[in-house]
Amino acid sequence: MPLPPGVSARDFQTVLRQFEAVVGKDWVFASDEDVELYRDSYSPFWHEPEDPVPSAAVAPDGVEQIQQILRIANNFKVPLWTVSTGKNLAYGGSAPRLSGSVVLDLKRMNRILEVNDRNHYALVEPGVSYFDLYRYTQEKGLNVFIDAPDPGWGSPVGNTLDRGGGHTPLRDHFSTLCGMEVVLANGDVVRTGMGALPNSRTWQQYKYGFGPYVDGIFTQSNFGIVTKMGVWLYPMPEMRFSGTVSVPKHDDLIPMVDTLSYLMNSNIVLGTTRVASSLTAQARDPELVALRSKPGGASIPELEEFLRRKNLPYWSIDLPFYGPTEVVPAQWAFAKRKFSAIPGVQFRDGATNKLPPSPEDLAKVANSVPLGVPSLAIFTAMERIGDGHIGLSPIVPMTGEAVFEVMDAFDKVIQEMGIHNVSVVPAGTYYPRSFFFLFNFPVVHNVEENRNMRSAFKRLVQVGAEHGWGEYRTHLAFMDDVANTYSFNNHALPRLHETLKDALDPNGILAPGKSGIWPKRLRKARA
């Protein structure tokens, strides 16, 4: 396995012995076999030398051990890549950006410090998974509802720090963050928000404390090691209902999205949904294939006519509603009234679920995440994708026009570059006020195919940026590319990040390269 850059084999052995003295022999992983476990299982660099490989991993069990590890890492300038549950699949798993980094694996710090169901929040350590949190709330009979990302084995801390999203009303996880404990590179322990007030009584109830609000700088960054996090939970709603709205014509998407935006921004439709087109399910219909493969492709009126003959809508959206049993039907009625302005609109009642779901109800659903029960059901979709995937996920305006533009621009590049098998989750509402597109690029164990896929990915990052659509998060392999697109005023924002990096971590030991932020001594590594 590689050594940390600039560290001799002898010094590295000393580092490992010192780590062992801190955490015990069992929690330092340096054999090839053990280090292998930290590589990215969905790496776009399979069998290529660029595949990032750590030099070792160390798993502390508390803040004091982290402080001691930092002292050693500072002494020897050993880079540390922090993971909480390390399940960041599609974005790098538990692998570091820089080969030779030591993974600081916080999975052992898995204490649930508090779950409060009067004010609806939790205070957790990094190793607590969504599954753990759910089990705990069940065992204690707490009246809270968990908003998990699709895979429940990730953590509130790791997912929130990478600004992930869920599927229910609270879905934008950064917006649920309320107070953190962070260990800085020099070992100083900082509590943010009200946590800075000794004996604070509201650390998890009021986010901002006093003075500059710094929580954001510890997300998608390498400025500190988060050791505790407060997250807001949703009070258990009485029910979930989903109703589908469908429209017949291509351009109907414009008023349809405007209405969706109105309903979501008014907190009437709550939770993650997406725009769907009947053309996706019909993609293999011979008539549609013939229409699309004629010179110039299919025109919009031809596609509309094709769908009309099959009695299918052009667009549809499932609207999720969460709330009291008296209120949800009224919200659905109101939503129908608003959408009725679109000629030819149709409505269909979907599933109604009482919350919390009973075990019998749970047994009837394929994916329980929208019902507040963490799951791994999303992986049933992976059978179609293959051995893994990475996600290209631009944030775009929440308008029908933007949906047309994105599909058009990205489709062109994907076709031109001959990339097959890309699956798209179009126009999702993981984050309020904007759309989130997710293009899943399959990762295969074939060097040539992965190379082509990576060039298409990079090209799409550029094309997106040229249109004003930025990536919300990215895989290790594209962090520099994405950071470079946030270039207003001669890269003023990345330069600010670097200024902060140099001030907070002068030896450059914390996660070099995360989000394109390199410490001074490694800055030449920027792509």
Partner: protein, 104 residues
């Protein structure tokens, strides 16, 4: 008076483990394996096995899994199933899973 109680608390899980490793494995199995390999809807490992004609598709019901096969799957991953680190599934946990799956 306090000492014996503390000792007893420490000894209990070990004793339980020694008495029936397969039982200890059941808990680990349910935590780490059931979400994908259990019975019922939305179980990706079970669905993938069924799609490949593997019978029975529910892992726990299989009788032809060797310890090596289980260890390799957990530490190397299989297709979209990732590798599991030792901080997630320790060697002792893995041995318990092997004992549980191989109990038949």
């Amino acid at each position: 008076m306090i000492r014996p109680c503390v000792l007893l608390a420490l000894l209990l899980p070990l004793a339980a483990f020694a008495a029936d490793p397969a039982q200890a494995g059941r808990e680990v199995y349910q935590k780490w394996c059931t979400p994908c390999h259990g019975a019922g809807l939305g179980k990706a490992g079970t669905e993938a096995a069924a799609a490949h004609g593997i019978k029975p598709a529910v892992l726990e019901q299989r009788t032809n899994l060797t310890p090596k096969m289980i260890e390799t799957a957990v530490r190397n991953g299989v297709s979209f199933m990732p590798r599991f680190r030792k901080t997630e599934i320790s060697n002792a946990d893995l041995a318990a899973i092997v004992a549980y799956v191989g109990r038949k």
